[in-house]
């Protein structure tokens, strides 16, 4: 019985691949547009004054961040889970009608949630908390989608043939638990319709409006415990899950060190959550929380670099593959960007550096070298690896892939260099005093000086978006071309991997 060939079912993976690409295009297009709005404010009304309310920077900014984080990235996480999960657990989705149903239900509810989120953000219904802008009805939809994903993860684990959980599974489990905990606690809110007026009126005002359970400094503390660790558990942990699977698979190399994986995993789990305080340096949260945030941010270099070095050393002796394969290029540059941004982050978390960096564009630059270089590249690479296998067709064009790689890399470099210069210039000008002890620059001086960097950043973003459209085209041509193989057979026994 155990020797029967096993065919994996990628129905749900394909569905999420689609939303990864669509929401990636949406989120990145909005990003490029609002980037140019800062360089050329006339763009705020380019679609006419009547809809200017919906195209102004403030209204679009949450749409950009949420569609790339919860649209593109989370779809990428789900898509890779529904591919990787079956393969490392040695069990097919087709073996359980229940899990297949859960997977599809999760997808459709997710699409519904995305639609509700997009409409509500456009209308201006926001809780104002960064990366947690959704009002309570959308929050509930998100929680349901997340729980369904949990059912899918543990359901598949429950019927697995391979008893030992591969490293990628550790990281997917951690993603599920981490995001679940963070999201629940940060979005504790009271719908205002529950209030009763002194004369007994109820259901007053908008039913979907709510206010935070926490006030002021406490609210800020919870928000950045969430905000920072959303980065951890959406932009780091699941992306490591991907690279631990796709890099060895694509390169044919075994993971360099199991011990290093262990150290990095448990280290990351323990250390990451402490570091949120570095978003609140010199604010009104208690000093010891700020100091802990700083210190643990530095310590965080260890587990982060542990994973990244483990990846790079996996390529030991096989570096010619980097030159030969654009797909390996994506993954190797992704882990390099991971090292780079996990060094930059701790530097910015040092109190004296943060005094200059906080509130500036340097922070924006830091976020984007992580998200564009590490998250974006790794998801793109994963989908490139998956496409021929789930669609049973050859990849449409490797040349296009290579061109995309260089265009996007150039885009990222333009992005972070312009934002570094912009951020440090801003930070230094804000604090500069003249010889009499007066402020040396007006606030407008610090805005005017940024124009060329804002423009350059927009160009960087546009290059990245161009590459992403090439990626979408490449995948589209792949799935719509003539099939080359009927199916991919795998042995059901664990050792047949």
């Amino acid at each position: 019985m155990e020797n029967r060939p096993l065919e994996y079912d990628y129905t749900v993976a394909k569905m999420f691949m689609l939303t990864t690409i669509v929401l990636g295009i949406v989120g990145m297009t909005i990003g490029v547009f609002i980037a140019f709005e800062l360089a050329f404010p006339g763009l705020n009304t380019i679609f006419g004054h009547t809809i200017a309310e919906y195209t102004a920077f403030g209204r679009l900014r949450p749409l950009h961040t949420d569609s790339v984080a919860f649209g593109f990235t989370v779809s990428g996480i789900f898509a890779t889970w529904y591919y990787v999960g079956q393969r490392v657990l040695k069990v097919s989705m087709a073996e359980s009608k229940f899990l297949m149903f859960i997977g599809k239900l999760q997808f459709w509810l997710y699409v519904l949630g995305v639609a509700a989120a997009v409409v509500s953000l456009f209308m201006g219904y926001t809780s104002s908390k960064e990366y947690a802008e959704f009002e309570w009805p959308v929050d509930i939809a998100i929680v349901v989608v997340w729980v369904l994903w949990g059912v899918s993860i543990f359901g598949l684990i429950g019927i697995r043939r391979e008893k030992s959980l591969y490293i990628s599974i550790w990281y997917y489990i951690a993603t599920f638990l981490g995001v679940g905990m963070l999201y629940l606690f940060n979005n504790m809110e009271i719908p205002t319709m529950l209030a009763t007026s002194p004369i007994g009126e109820t259901n007053i005002g908008d039913w979907f409006h709510s206010i935070s359970m926490y006030a002021g400094t406490n609210d800020a503390l919870v928000q950045w415990w969430y905000g920072h660790n959303a980065v951890a558990f959406v932009f780091t942990v699941p992306i490591i899950a991907m690279i631990y699977y796709f890099l060895p698979k694509e390169s044919g190399q075994a993971i360099y060190s199991y011990k290093l994986s262990l150290l990095s995993f448990w280290g990351l789990m323990f250390v990451y959550l402490w570091a949120g305080g570095h978003h609140l340096l010199y604010s009104t949260v208690p000093d010891w929380v700020q100091t802990m945030g700083s210190i643990f941010s530095i310590v965080l270099i260890l587990p982060s670099w542990g994973s990244a070095i483990n990846m790079l050393l996996t390529m030991k002796g096989e570096w010619q593959q980097v030159a030969a394969s654009p797909l390996i290029k994506f993954m190797v540059l992704a882990s390099t960007f991971y090292m780079f941004s996990t060094l930059e982050g701790p530097i910015q978390a040092i109190k004296s550096v943060n005094a200059i960096a906080h509130f500036t564009n340097w922070i924006v630059g830091h976020v984007h070298d992580g998200t564009l270089g590490w998250v974006g590249f790794m998801i793109i690479a994963s989908l490139f690896h998956m496409a021929p296998r789930v669609f049973k067709r050859e990849l449409y064009s490797k040349g296009l892939m290579a061109a995309q790689f260089w265009i996007q890399t150039l885009g990222i470099v333009l992005y972070f260099t312009s934002m570094w210069i912009a951020g440090i210039t801003q930070g230094m000008m804000w604090r500069a005093h003249d010889e009499f002890g007066n402020l040396a620059y007006s606030f407008m001086d610090t805005v005017n000086v940024l124009h060329p960097y804002y423009a350059l950043r927009g160009v960087g973003g546009l290059l990245y978006l161009t590459g992403f459209l090439m990626f979408a085209y490449n995948i589209y041509k792949t799935m719509s071309s003539r099939p080359v193989e009927e199916s991919e057979l795998q042995n059901a026994s664990p050792m047949g991997a």
Binding site: A56, A174, D206, Y214, D219, W266, T284
Partner: protein
């Protein structure tokens, strides 16, 4: 131990959860036990100010403007006294922001006037040459949602004990009572009375006409809110 854990998904997950939950318990729970208390002079917002705060949030002003003055000379020179924890005691949600594409607004009420905001929101670049802030003409025509602002006040009072209709100490040693309406109809009357005071200082005829008709444009509420940031 690790090899064994990797074969037992449930215990593995428990282990992961305990490891990640630990930091939150240590860092966050103590601060809740000692919830931030208001400083002398911190008042709850009035109804119109609350409505203005909702307009501020609706347009994500906090995407570009902070409300947190750090304790550096350059910041206190530019924006005024550095921010204190107690000043935020009634802020749900907090609006510190994370970017200063525009200047900090925590004490903007000290150095900008109704007239200035009116002109600036209609066309920022005309008042501040080189400004990259978008114009907000729709605030002059959209009507503010008084009902939701009132529901927010009620929620703050009922669930979180925010002291409406109670004496609150002020900096000059006296007390002030921030009133809250008893009914939705009362709330509308109260918001309109507040709006009339703000509109009296404004020039835009459409806004003045709207207030005279008993409507409250968003801009009036937003200005009331910005003026209360001190």
């Amino acid at each position: 131990m690790f090899h064994w854990l990797e074969k037992h998904p449930f215990l593995f997950s428990v282990g992961v959860f305990v490891t990640i939950a630990f930091a939150g318990l240590v860092e966050i729970v103590p601060n809740f036990a000692q919830a931030s208390r208001p400083v002398i002079g911190t008042k709850p917002v009035t109804l119109l100010e609350q409505a203005g705060r909702d307009v501020y949030i609706k347009n994500s002003c906090n995407s570009c403007h902070s409300q947190l003055i750090r304790p550096f000379k350059a910041e206190t020179d530019r924006y005024g006294h550095y921010s204190l924890s107690g000043e935020y005691a009634y802020d749900r949600p907090f609006l510190w922001g994370s970017e200063r594409t525009g200047p900090d607004l925590h004490r903007v009420g000290n150095y900008r006037t109704t007239e200035w905001h009116e002109n600036h929101m209609m066309n920022p670049a005309k008042i501040v040459p080189g400004s990259i802030m978008p114009a907000y003409p729709w605030l002059f025509t959209n009507k503010v949602d008084i009902d939701t602002a009132y529901a927010t006040q009620l929620t703050n009072a009922e669930f979180f004990g925010v002291p409406y209709n109670k004496p609150v100490p002020t900096k000059d040693g006296k007390t002030v009572v921030i009133k809250m309406a008893k009914s939705v109809a009362g709330a509308h009357a109260m918001a309109l009375a507040e709006a009339k005071k703000v509109a009296a200082k404004m020039k835009n005829q459409d806004v003045k006409d709207a207030v005279a008709r008993g409507e409250v444009p968003e801009i009036v509420a937003l200005i009331a809110y910005l003026n209360c940031l001190k």
